[in-house]
């Protein structure tokens, strides 16, 4: 897979914003994740220094939380819900279809960095089970046809 280019200047600015902030590690990492789409491994040391932590502590936090990724994600992060209600209403077959349509396994990103496929334990939209999110948009009451049409929308972009 092609290496993604990082805007180091942007990264620097983000880190400086949280310099010395108390309990600032997670909010900073969240900012980095949101802006760059992931937490580049090269960012760990500067972050550690800015917050007076050991790099191992930063690494520990990054690898603990599911919300952080050390690898770049796609433009569209597709999160298929595997919560109880979705599960009970056939979420598994939606996931299977997704994997087939995108050609990705869970956690993988497409070659062109367009899609990342993930599963989430629960999106909290259980009344619309089975559900999924693409970035911040929810889609509910999924059927095979609906899944395909949603993906087509994002493919065209």
């Amino acid at each position: 897979m092609k290496e993604k280019d990082i805007d180091l200047g942007q990264l620097d600015a983000l880190i400086r914003e949280f310099q010395g902030k108390k309990w600032g590690l997670i909010p900073l990492l969240q900012k980095v994740q949101e802006t760059l789409g992931y937490v580049p491994p090269v960012a760990i040391e500067p972050i550690a220094e800015a917050l007076d932590l050991f790099p191992s502590q930063v690494q520990g936090v990054v690898t603990f939380y599911a919300g952080f990724s050390l690898e770049p994600k796609g433009k569209y992060v597709v999160r298929v819900c595997r919560g109880t209600a979705c599960h009970v209403r056939g979420g598994r077959s939606i996931l299977r279809l997704m994997r087939k349509e995108l050609g990705l396994e869970e956690g993988e990103t497409s070659e062109d960095y367009r899609f990342t496929l993930e599963t989430v334990a629960c999106l909290g939209a259980c009344f619309l089970a089975p559900t999924m999110m693409v970035n911040q948009t929810y889609f509910g009451k999924l059927s095979p046809a609906k899944v395909t049409s949603v993906l087509d929308q994002y493919r065209k972009d």
């Binding site: 997670i26 994997r99 009344f127 889609f139």
Partner: protein, 1043 residues
Amino acid sequence: MEKLNSIGRLEWFRNKIRAGQEKGKAIVHVCMTGCRAYGSADVLAALQEEVKKQGLSREVEIRSTGCHGFCAKAPVIAIEPLGIQYQEVSPEDASEIVGATLKNDRLVDRLAYRDPETGRPIYYRNQIPFYEKQERRVLARCGRIDPTRIEDYVAEGGYEALVKAVSSMTPEQVIEEVKRAKLRGRGGAGFPTGVKWEFARRAKGVPKYVICNADEGDPGAFMDRAMLEGDPHAVLEGMLIGAYAMGAEYGFVYVREEYPIAVNHLHIALEQMRSLGLLGENILGMGFNFELALKMGAGAFVCGEETALMASIEGRRGMPRARPPFPAESGLDGKPTNINNVETWANVPLIIIKGADWYGQVGTENSRGTKIFSLAGKVNNTGLVEVPIGVPIKEVVFDIGGGIPKGRQFKAVQMGGPSGGCVPPQYLNLPIDYDTLQRIGAIMGSGGMVVMDENNCMVEIARFFLSFTQSESCGKCAPCRLGTTQLLEILTRITRGEGRIEDIETIRGLGETITQASLCGLGQTCAKPALSTLRYFSKEYEDHILEHRCAGATCDAMVISACQHACPAGIDVPNYVAAIAEGKYEKAVEIIRERNPFPAVCGRICIHPCEFKCRRGELDEPVAIRSLKRFASDWYFQHVGTRREPYPVTREDNVAVVGAGPAGLTCAYFLARMGYGVTVFEGQPVAGGMLGITVPEFRLPRQVIQEEIDYIESCGVHIQYNTPIDARHTVDDLMGEGYRAVFIAAGAQASKRIGIPGEEEGLEGLHYGLPFLTAVKTGEKIPLKGRVLVVGGGNVAIDVARTALRVGADDVQLFCLETRDEMPAWKKEIEEAVEEGIVINPSWGPREIMHDGNRVTGIRFVRCVSVFDMEGNFSPTFDEDAVQTVEADYAIISIGQAPDMSFLSEDSRLERALWGALIVDEKTLSTNIPGIFAGGDFTTGPTYVIRAIASGRRAAISIDRYLRGEKGSFTILDEKTRLAEETRLALDEDTGEERPRVAVEVANPEERTRDFREVEKGFTEAQARFEATRCLRCDLEEDGGEE
């Protein structure tokens, strides 16, 4: 907005807003939180445009609000002050909503809720059953106010509670009030909130913190999300009051980042509070300082645990630590910290403003107030429900939730997510309370209620929860880290058909250990789903391990297709359906006959468990498998006929079968197929058993049964009619005559008596169900006139009622103990009976048969309050004061059948159970005497035809093994037919077009009761081929890996 630096200014602000709200304006509340996933943003935009276009901008406000609760019908809108709710609204409806309802007060039918029984529209929210039993206190403003406008909250009385608390109560008084209200932690643990606040107040240390745990991680729970998105200020005001009471200066709302709308609305709320001066120094000039900030979770379920949550706020890995010290003593930064759940905080302003007395008016002795539940899963009315604590579970699932969709059976409701347990049907009457649920191994939890039906596998559910907790386990303590992995591994093996019987004890022991030894709540509760399902559904676990059977037909490794797995006879459904689609009807029947020699009979009267499991049913309607079977077999008998070459006799041994009913004839048929000589001894002059003499002609014509029997005889099965096996010609005699094995399938044909006064033999006008049906079917004249009362709620009772109508009764009334929904009779039959004019009177129990010494004059009934007890046992209770006596000319008792054991009296060596039935091995159907087998209704009691047929085949396999000297037990697994048809049917089509199930034509209700014509007509060829292509060919699905 300018800072409000005094209480007076707040009041002024409030009054100004209220004055600014134009009276008489209609407000359309459009949910823009949950409903957004279903396009409510477009609905909002369309409505705004229409209002402008139609010139109603001064009279109508289109308001963006939070959740209305009835999420199943998203997008939902409410129109005040009319009190109307419109559902499943699309942008295209906007012009009519504005033009008709808003402009001209006309209601739009198609957007109203439909009563599921009557179909009539219900426009007014307070009349919709979903809302009737709710008590929306905490959710009162949700769905009414715009959560992004603090003005709305203030106008509705927001922050009055804060003012009251800070300006007129001492912190101790506030805590006392919360204690008096008996508010318990709504996050699930149920710790008394006031007591916890007191600990924090008394603790030493500055500054103190308050935290809102908004990390709602339970899969299936969305109460907190709706609250934060729809009425965030209620939560925040609660936190301010708490902060005042405990002396805290800082607060955090820890919200999971997976809730972007909640995060956004909280941001906005906090900003607006800050700009009004409701946060910061000297709030409202009351000398109270408080700062509140937002912290977002980064994706870890374990951070819902309070110590892990605090670690996360401090920027560390979310790993719990041991307690004591509790957060109240030492929390964030080692300082006293109070953590409460979103809903707990939201209850606080209510308690303060309305008082603990008001608050305590609902709820139970130890837990006052209401609880919000998120109802999801296999239930009609999914959504957000708020009820008083103590309401029975049944009420939430059935009255509010509207019961299980698609007429399926309730199986269990999971409460409390991965930390909770399942509640099986027998406990549906339990009140929802922290303490009652604990006793049955479940918990109330944070409020997630996920309903499951007969198509869910409880073992798989346990595995599902374990896979969640295993991946979310932080890893710090060994019992949880290793224990969840082990439990998951065991459960996965069981769902894969690789289970071992020892696994069950291992799960119990391991679960116990993990619960006792884990550091935090995640580990301490992770075993609950497994232990709970094991407790109430142990048979499912055993069946998975020993029989490779999955009751929900979901475990891929042991299920080729759900329909085949659900069929007691294991017929390869997808392949015969595909054959029909291809026009190969003879082949279809051959496939069916590999497992069932009664395709035409089953095509008419089978209970079709296959259709209940059909996955097509998840999309729209199940494939009409039963009708397809009927079509193919009717075609077969028309075009191929009943004759065939008999199967060659290749084996030396002869077998005798007692009873030419479905079980007996099926056994004989398969034995003949295997090359044995078989003779069936039948006491009646005709074969068919129950089928032939009791199923009414209008459901199953005699001719159809005869064709099937003729075919079976053609196969080489000898039936000796008028040859009963009884005291003069016993089973032992048969063995003496050279039969090496005997299969007893004598059915269950003795009628049960109720045992009430007046139930006297010989009373004129008093009949019993089966003999009555037999008499009619064999042509005996039973001239019924006047009113007939039928007692019973099962299929036979319905058959009796419908038959009574056809032989002359003027008025047929059926009375049964059960409620309409509980009636064991097949829904379709009940509906057809009602169509024909039969009146069903549910919930009545017969007390006495009235007579004049000679003939029946009526029955006295007493109101039946419940049929089953809390444990699910048959134990009817009555209201002795509610009685009615119904006059009648005839009474037909139809409350059940039992096997008639009298004919076996000579064979006393056969082992009986205490109550007289024969004991047989469940798998081999062997009695205690080698060579003598028994099955069908005779051993199980009355049951469905297809089960009797399956029993017959099992007996044939077992007898064959016995005769060949094979020892030990055996398992019958699903197998694909060798006559497979590879067409992919519905999967091949890529059209998005709707293909609803073909409806079966039924004879006109007014006309059909004149005689005994068949009520149901079969499919035409065109209909059958079309219907068959709806099949999804689940059997061809490759298993694409595990989740």
